[in-house]
Symmetry: C2
Subunit: 340 residues, 2 copies
């Protein structure tokens, strides 16, 4: 192969033979290697200390693969780490499974893997098992990544819909809509004076800092697809309590808001990838808020609303800037395909 030829992903890289072995040895292990992964057995063997675990999975199909603030590799790690963290678990191990389109530039592939590796390392979570498949050109779009994750349940936390009562506070750790609007603007080719940037981040550290305060945390979820609107509607439906959100309290970036206005989106429906919604008792909300604000991923944290009354058909209402009320509905779901 001459210097000028770009190395490409071939079907044989996913064939389970010599080229797959070479890919694992040259591209996977140098980036992700650890004692468990290096054994390359059919299953990773883990000693977790406790059999009380959380288990989650997500596939990532984001387009474009690289965006301001992240890429599909970083996103695939953060997404699964966050699903564990909001479930009240300490992430212990991840799997990484790749479906690659034949002909993908090897350099781009390596860049994505490197980003996933750096993100996982920073979050303190090892990749312990994985899989690689290659499909022919046109049968996939660049690369799709699935991660699954295992975490051990944290002892001193009791997340339960049954514990939610009127007066409980609803918190978020910062600006809403950054991820979704970054992806959309990039797809639409829109440029702004202060560029948009995805909030894509691993939340396990900030969440553990909040839990350490002893705040009475009753619910956590990361408002990804469907945004704050979907998460609060799910909370209302599951807890059978209505919810009031205060528009003026919602942290937003001015440019993100401008982009949403231009494209006709409601920021409440827009995906976030570095945010979590938390419900705490009224008397411990400030404790949680202060811990969030003390963390780099929570400087813009805010109390954005509260739980109101219990009812059979609960609703989410937004108290608007001018003092009106509007119902926040569960989004339909077609707003932003391939956002994560």
């Amino acid at each position: 192969m001459t210097q000028s030829q770009t190395k490409k992903i071939l079907l044989a890289h996913g064939g389970g033979g010599r080229l797959t072995a070479a890919l694992i040895e040259n591209s996977i292990l140098p980036k992700f290697g650890n004692e468990t992964l290096n054994q390359l057995t059919d299953s990773a063997h883990l000693e977790l200390g406790s059999g009380s675990i959380c288990f989650t999975t997500d596939s990532f199909v984001v387009k474009p693969l690289f965006f301001s603030g992240g890429d599909i590799g970083k996103l695939a790690i953060c997404g699964t780490v966050n699903d564990l963290a909001v479930a009240g678990a300490k992430p212990a191990a991840l799997s990484l499974s790749l479906i690659i389109e034949e002909g993908m530039d090897f350099e781009i592939f390596e860049q994505i893997l490197q980003s996933a590796a750096v993100t996982a390392k920073a979050a303190g979570v090892p990749i312990v098992t994985g899989d690689t498949k290659v499909v022919e050109t046109g049968a996939a779009d660049g690369i799709f990544i699935n991660t699954a994750g295992i975490g051990t349940k944290i002892d001193n936390i009791d997340l339960s819909m049954n514990r939610i009562v009127p007066g409980d506070k609803i918190l978020i750790n910062g600006n809403i809509g950054d991820h979704g609007m970054t992806i959309m603007s990039q797809r639409e080719g829109m440029k702004f004076e202060s560029p948009l940037k995805s909030d894509c981040a691993c939340l396990n550290d900030i969440i553990s800092k909040v839990l350490e305060t002893g705040a009475d945390v009753k619910f956590m979820r990361d408002p990804t697809r469907g945004g704050v609107a979907a998460t609060t509607n799910e909370l209302a439906a599951s807890s059978l309590h209505s919810i009031e959100l205060i528009e003026t309290a919602l942290p937003t970036d001015l440019t993100v808001r401008a982009a949403a206005d231009m494209l006709g989106f409601d920021l409440l429906n827009i995906a976030n990838e570095g945010k979590f919604i938390m419900v705490t008792s009224a008397d411990t909300a400030d404790k949680a808020l202060n811990a969030m604000r003390a963390h780099p991923l929570g400087t813009k944290a805010a109390i954005i609303g509260e739980v109101t009354q219990k009812e059979e058909m609960p609703i989410v209402e937004l108290i608007t800037t001018i003092g009106g009320r509007r119902i926040v509905q569960m989004p339909y779901g077609r707003e932003l395909p391939r956002i994560c």
Copy 2:
């Protein structure tokens, strides 16, 4: 929608909003529902009894989606159950993550899910968490499925390359190459008098029956992509022991062999989806063999070779039907794309 219109998968089915919720409620929960999954939290919470676990993942991109003996749904369950079982673990829970191409017939989608549900139920392993993404027409090929799995380590088994010594026996639970040749023949439009059928099956039950005999099992692996050639080469390389396979001992179906000959394939390189290679001590091989043969998935089980000497550059050799010797190499990997 009129009766004559076929219902299709829409982008909004993967958008995280109302249509995703409807898909989960109407298509996922009725088939897979269990106490853990029904909670629809970000992560499933499991009480495993022990923190000594195995964790594995695989993505499935098989083409065609339906084949004689199975489909992508069944395959996705069996593949991950088998990776746990050959690691000496009792499968405890699976995740199921779908990447669907917009426009897929809803009926086909439902059929695949149903097949996965029936297979998981028969294997006794619940699906506890999942994810659904939809990508636009042309960005994927029908459906890709990822499963990850957790199992609890079985106590009385010590799988370890260090325990392998010359004289150990190599066993397989039946005919080789059935899965790969079924897929290939179907793609090539070949027809045979006795039709080919994939061996796709969950192996956790037969493996536990063999382990119950107390046979001294030192190694297990399912020869999927890359076939028996890849698995035995991996065994040789990791254990630093050469291996001899006996061609006349390899169980094969006559039609599968004919198909391989016609298409120019070596059955040793062909994927299996319901087979496992096992290494036992010489004196307990018959015990293991008898247990295999007593099980419906092992009626054609055989001792197919043995471990020979320890060496730095170990090889796998085939003693051919006419008494010759040929080296069995690690396959290159381009033989059979999208076989699983």
